[in-house]
């Protein structure tokens, strides 16, 4: 092989400019690359693209499984129905509230946890493991234990905080419990992402700042946070997208009663319980659009990017 290659290469080189000869081989390589990727890419497009297109198609129809004969194309009528409905906007408000509250609290607690994990001197491994326990517990299981803890008469938390009432059956307290469950569950995830960002902060920078007389708080706000900015934004983006789609905690804790439905819960009620594929698909598409809008705002307005890639093409 090696004996015959150079003459062939030389031969080629005499016929065409060297660069093209090289790109010929490269092109073949790239084509092979594409061919090798194609099955995976096609499968991915099929499993992500097709369901999205299909739900858009469903959302343009009146289609209720219980009235199969009444199926028809209705254009944007389903969108008008959903967007003028008070239940939808109530759920939208509740979801936004849960999202903002839980993400803000998680950011503060997660940052504190990340700092503790980063600078823990004793038992660092133990601290990190213990912190991650809530994240390792299945959400539904955790939600059930919250539910029992807050149930009237049987729950220890309910007995402690409101011996007379049933906290899960009143709107404000139920929402607070949902946020609490959400925060408890995902703060470790936030802390983990932030800890990765903390590792990016060079220790010389901190030492230099300390030398210049910066207090601990100043070092945190003026050095650590700016350097960590990309990591913080990514963590916020992930959690905001997740929190906006909250379902399991609401489903287990209140099932959406007393006006605590999230948009996902409402979609479930219309799609799975109500069997109304048209309205349900419309809601799914709207949630999809809302999530896309959140991602867009984070990426374009705040300039979120993967940590380390901020130099390339970001404003």
């Amino acid at each position: 092989m090696s004996a015959t290659a150079p003459p062939a290469m030389a031969n080629e080189a005499t016929k065409r400019p060297g660069r093209r000869a090289l790109s010929e081989g490269k092109r073949a390589e790239r084509r092979l690359g594409w061919l090798l990727c194609a099955p995976a890419a096609i499968v991915m497009v099929a499993v992500t693209g097709w369901p999205i297109l299909y739900s858009v198609w469903l959302s343009l129809q009146r289609y209720d499984l219980r009235f199969p004969n009444q199926r028809e194309f209705v254009g944007l009528a389903n969108y008008a129905t959903v967007l003028t409905n008070s239940y939808w906007w109530q759920a939208f408000g509740v979801t936004s509230l849960i999202t903002v509250l839980s993400v803000v609290i998680e950011l503060v607690l997660g940052m504190a946890l990340a700092l503790v994990m980063h600078w823990a001197f004793v038992g660092r491994g133990l601290v990190r493991t213990v912190t991650l326990v809530p994240y390792g517990i299945v959400t539904v299981v955790a939600a059930f234990s919250w539910r029992y803890a807050w149930s009237q008469d049987v729950g220890y938390l309910a007995r402690l905080f409101s011996p007379e009432g049933a906290p899960l059956t009143e709107r404000a307290s139920a929402l607070a419990i949902i946020v609490l469950a959400e925060v408890w569950k995902t703060t470790p995830f936030m802390a983990l992402l932030l800890m990765a960002g903390l590792a990016l902060v060079p220790s010389e920078l901190l030492r230099a700042a300390a030398m210049d007389g910066a207090s601990a708080w100043q070092r945190f706000t003026k050095v650590i946070v700016p350097v960590m900015r990309p990591a913080i934004l990514v963590a916020l983006l992930f959690r905001t997208l997740d929190a906006f789609r909250i379902f399991d905690n609401v489903f287990v804790l209140t099932a959406g009663s007393q006006g605590t439905s999230s948009v996902s819960m409402l979609t479930f009620n219309n799609l799975i319980r109500g069997l109304n594929l048209g309205i349900g698909a419309t809601m799914s598409v709207l949630i999809f659009l809302a999530v896309a809008a959140i991602a867009f705002v984070f990426v374009k307005v705040f300039g979120t990017a993967a940590p380390g890639s901020e130099k390339e093409g970001r404003r």
Binding site: Q152, N269, G274
Partner: protein, 422 residues
């Protein structure tokens, strides 16, 4: 290299296919080995497997009933069956449906109509209330399996003569409270089906209608509006529990059992449960038909219960119909009434001597089943129920005229499956 590789790939593909198909083949294998299998989907009932055994013996090898237990919660049961039926699953033969689902499944074409000999046998001796729940648009789609009906339970040491109207109930309870005795009236007021049932009881007592007979229009006639008023007055009278809007069946039972109430509206399961839970209260625990609204006009009770239906996608419908007729025949209904506490749908079963011990209140139950209140019959019952429980909660906030207007609009959307469900 080419051939062996291809051969290897083929082997891998075959192996993959085999792994995918194996469970299905195994299932088919079982079917062909043992003859025809009738798959029965039923919510958990402790002694149903014994009934299945009895029927398998009686089938004498013509078919074998295989019992699959559904989730305990009604929503979970319905979701599983609906999802599979919508996909045309042929592995479901006999389905145990809550009586409110019959129109939904029939309208969607998921269950078979009962005709001829099967229909005749399925309808014989069935009490009028349960019988009505097996029909949709004049056709029969189900065989009544078991029924259920609420009663007014009261403490005979506090109340001499059971009241016959809600006004009397309120007055009696207020008098008890004035004398410093437990005078609470307990009923299921949480935002769920239990609240709908209470409202339906009152609508029934006034011969009112929430929907038109054919289920196509939300009418809320005079009776339905006056029932709103009755429900509101009861909730505002001060005799209900402070946690009325949280209470479900078991909360109501526990409240009564603890001795702090004079009345409860609840299903017959409270009778054995209270006997085990608090013998002291049980000694004075008596029952009466549900109160009415107008003096001299008896109350009506909303019936619950379950029906057996045969899936449209079943590959063995004849065997399935046959299996149903065995599963809910008089002997098996009596067995399950005594063992599982499921009130029978067949009138004659109530006369059996074994029933006297298990159901001392059987005469009242049978009387209520003869002239019951029915929940609205519509394929969109799930929607109707969700809207009703949302709008009626909390009952003390009902404004009869305005609430009725809102219900007419939202229920109309719900039965046409047009609006958004809460």
């Amino acid at each position: 290299m080419g051939r062996p590789t291809r051969g290897g790939r083929r082997a891998a593909v075959l192996l993959g296919a085999a792994l995918l198909v194996a469970p299905a083949l195994a299932a088919c294998g079982a079917a062909t080995d043992d003859g025809i299998v009738v798959n029965l989907y039923n919510p958990p009932e402790e002694n149903l497997s014994k009934v299945v055994e009895t029927c398998n013996q009686r089938a004498g090898g013509r078919y074998r009933i295989a019992l699959t237990t559904l989730p305990r919660g009604a929503d979970g049961q319905r979701e599983q069956m609906v999802r599979r039926l919508a996909a045309g699953d042929t592995d479901m033969d006999v389905l145990n449906l809550d009586i409110t689902w019959t129109p939904e499944f029939a309208e969607a074409g998921w269950i078979r109509e009962w005709t001829g000999r099967h229909k005749e046998e399925a309808e014989r001796d069935v009490l009028p209330g349960p019988l009505a729940s097996t029909r949709w648009r004049g056709r029969t789609y189900a065989a009544a399996k078991n029924s259920n009906v609420q009663l007014l339970w009261y403490r005979s040491d506090l109340v001499e003569e059971p009241p016959t109207t809600w006004q009397e109930v309120i007055r009696t309870a207020q008098e008890l409270q004035q004398r410093g005795k437990p005078g609470t009236v307990l009923l299921t007021g949480a935002q769920y089906e239990g609240l709908v049932v209470n409202y339906s009881n009152m609508v029934g007592a006034l011969d009112g209608h929430i929907l038109s007979e054919d289920g196509s229009r939300a009418v809320l006639d005079d009776g339905a509006v006056r029932a709103l008023e009755t429900l509101r007055d009861l909730a505002r009278s001060g005799v209900t529990s402070p946690s009325l809007t949280n209470q479900r069946e078991d909360d109501v039972r526990l409240g009564f059992q603890s001795g702090n109430a004079a009345f409860q509206v609840n299903w017959p399961f409270v009778h054995p449960a209270t006997r085990a839970g608090n013998p002291q209260v049980f000694r004075n625990m008596k029952w009466a038909p549900l109160p009415g609204v107008e003096p001299g006009k008896p109350g009506k009770a909303t019936i619950g219960g379950a029906n057996y239906t045969v899936s449209s996608y079943s590959r063995h419908p004849d065997e399935a119909f046959d299996a149903v007729l065995c599963l809910r025949d008089a002997a098996n209904q009596k067995f399950q009434a005594v063992k599982d506490g499921l009130p029978p749908t067949l009138a004659s079963v109530y006369d059996e001597p074994e029933m006297a011990e298990a159901y001392p209140m059987r005469d009242v139950i049978r009387e209520q089943l003869r002239n019951p209140a029915l929940r609205p019959m519509t394929p969109a019952y799930q929607n109707v129920s969700t809207v009703l429980s949302t709008v009626l909660s909390p009952p003390s906030a009902i404004d009869p005229k305005a609430t009725a207007d809102r219900l007419r609009k939202e229920l109309q959307d719900a039965i046409e499956s047009k609006g958004v469900l809460p």
